[in-house]
Symmetry: D2
């Protein structure tokens, strides 16, 4: 089974991005029976999608999992829904800051992840690490890439699945401990558990992962 994992370059003044560090660590120790390829995406609207689509096609991956940083969250969060909206709170790495623009003109308002999100959460917890389902990937590059991925997969690529995973800060990004963090090797272990769940689960678990608001 071929799986593509993507991470992002640093942004917003940070020198590192936990998503790429963890993706690289995960790549070094793939689950049995999984052929893992990786791609580094720029934190640039549109360019990120060009790079992503190329990687999806080059890899021939049957499962694509994009990974991004969610500074402030304490656990792995498996995103459930991507929305057709760019509303950038800060400029991207090329200085562009779209506000209230669709990602795909005439695209649907949203796509749901086609990963087994509940099984992915359970797999991370079974590995002793914290995880939950999230119902918003924001309106910046992470959601942009998530929506672009799902639009690409849903447009004539039947049977290929994809989704997005948000990860916490690395410990060195929060030296005074005012925000939660997770070591890169823990994030990598969690990603590996997610990849395993994604390739082995045919029907997702039927247990609540909902939020009241």
């Amino acid at each position: 089974m071929r799986v593509l994992l993507t991470g992002f370059e640093p942004f917003g003044g940070s020198a590192v991005n936990p998503s790429w560090q963890a993706v690289r660590l995960a790549e070094a120790a793939p689950p049995d029976g999984v052929s893992l390829s990786t791609a580094l995406l720029p934190v640039v609207f549109h360019d990120a999608l060009v790079r992503l689509r190329a990687a999806v096609e080059e890899s021939g991956a049957e499962v694509v999992i994009c990974v991004g940083q969610a500074g402030g969250r304490a656990g792995m969060t498996i995103e459930r829904v991507a929305v057709n909206l760019d509303d950038a709170r800060i400029p991207d790495n090329k200085g562009v800051q779209p506000v209230d623009e669709p990602i795909v003109a005439d695209g649907p308002a949203a796509y749901f992840s086609t990963l087994p999100v509940k099984a992915c959460v359970a797999a991370v917890r079974d590995a002793g690490l914290p995880a939950s389902v999230s119902h918003t990937a924001g309106t910046y590059l992470c959601n942009h890439v998530f929506y672009g991925l799902m639009h690409h997969l849903e447009s004539g690529r039947p049977g290929r699945r994809g989704g997005f995973v948000h990860v916490p800060y690395l410990p060195e990004q929060v030296p005074d401990g005012d925000k939660p963090s997770m070591p890169a090797r823990s994030i990598a272990e969690a990603l590996t558990a997610i990849v395993s769940a994604a390739v082995t689960t045919t029907e997702d678990l039927k247990e609540t992962g909902g939020s009241l608001h």
Copy 2:
């Protein structure tokens, strides 16, 4: 201009629901030129939509704003997107707990609010109260009602707009101050500002209200 405001009954063990308290206070002092009607919705899947659709039709409202409690948030949050998903973390007031079911079979994955969400945020802040845009209304009753509202309005009711606003706990709901709160009269003032912005804004403000994740 006719406006409908809805609130919810209490749920989850609470004796009160700030949404209904504030809606009632707002009803007592509507903005000039606005004819305000209100409806109390049950915290029951499906039943809440039956009641909502009836209130929409009875009121003839051109603008419908549903209001619900988001315990833990510190300001007013104007919801931007409703998703076609029920995933109840706790049972509703009739004991029903849907998990991973669509709200409308074959409905679109999501609807965007047709309120001017940025203008609504600005109006609340101009009134000296905290507000922001939110990109998830959860997967419980609030999202259920929000999605059901948008589906109803988008199905053959052109020119009628709607959306959802989440409000904080009341002070008496958090006696030890471990979560944020807002007095009912402050919430009502904020709702009044939102109603005014909704009926007077023809084109929404073009300024960021986005989130990074």
Copy 3:
């Protein structure tokens, strides 16, 4: 019964300080039988204590309650202990930033509040507002004034009691609602409840207000 309430001037770039706004509102409507005087303290190490001691002597107050802003807390917090330490994270309003200096050379490491802290918490909750006991007033001006007050009262002023109360941000200080807040009139109501409890309680309630860490 004579009571002195003190508040602080703005600091740290803020245009307002909720402590002084609320103290002024509380002064306008004192509890029955209470003669209330107030003093505005500068956010300046040492100078604040000079002004405080003068106000204590001028007022002849039997109960002194100093009030300060604790940005980020969601309820009223009744401070229990003042420590003999200045460690300023930011400079004061005169640009002075003491690090690891005692407030009173050869003073004891700490003083406990002589207010009935549990009764004060209960009084605020009875008024429908959130409150709890806090076990640190920080190491900036609030703790400085709290320690200086207790040292003054404990040095030959038997029967005169004092303490410190921290209050949340005002709503206008957190326009995007990323931190909790409380309207000035709510804070004032809570202060009035605290004053009443302080002057009428002879023996504090014996119920836990502790924290695990």
Copy 4:
């Protein structure tokens, strides 16, 4: 140089206590030149101090660092002050719940840590892990042990230093990621850095570690 590290047994319904797990890991790899002994303390008022004092005497430790869990904190926190107060929010492991009782009758209101707290914070950050100074250890077992330790050391044991360190939850204690956590091996690395700083620092760093409230 002889150093004693103590941890606690589980409490409050948890099956594990990160303090003891990390102390055991740290013991297995002490810094050069340090003879490290450890002790497991019961989460029982008074009994914990009996066990602690015995371990201090048996070990002949010149530096004693007690470690406890602070569920909800995201980094290592080096406690600066212990107060003479038991106010238990929950019963201890023997079912005893003291409220508003002194730890040592006629003891001083507080003791300051005699560890170089700023150097300890810097050492943890240098190891790539989050840390800060804390000004309250609560009013439960951690503060009880911290105060009892300092009282013991200050009563006729010149030159022997001690203090308290709070550590976050383990990842497996927060499966849904609603609170921060840190892996046991990261906590152990941080403790080792603290031990090294404690035994090699003769004069603490003069840089702010203060908090505004």
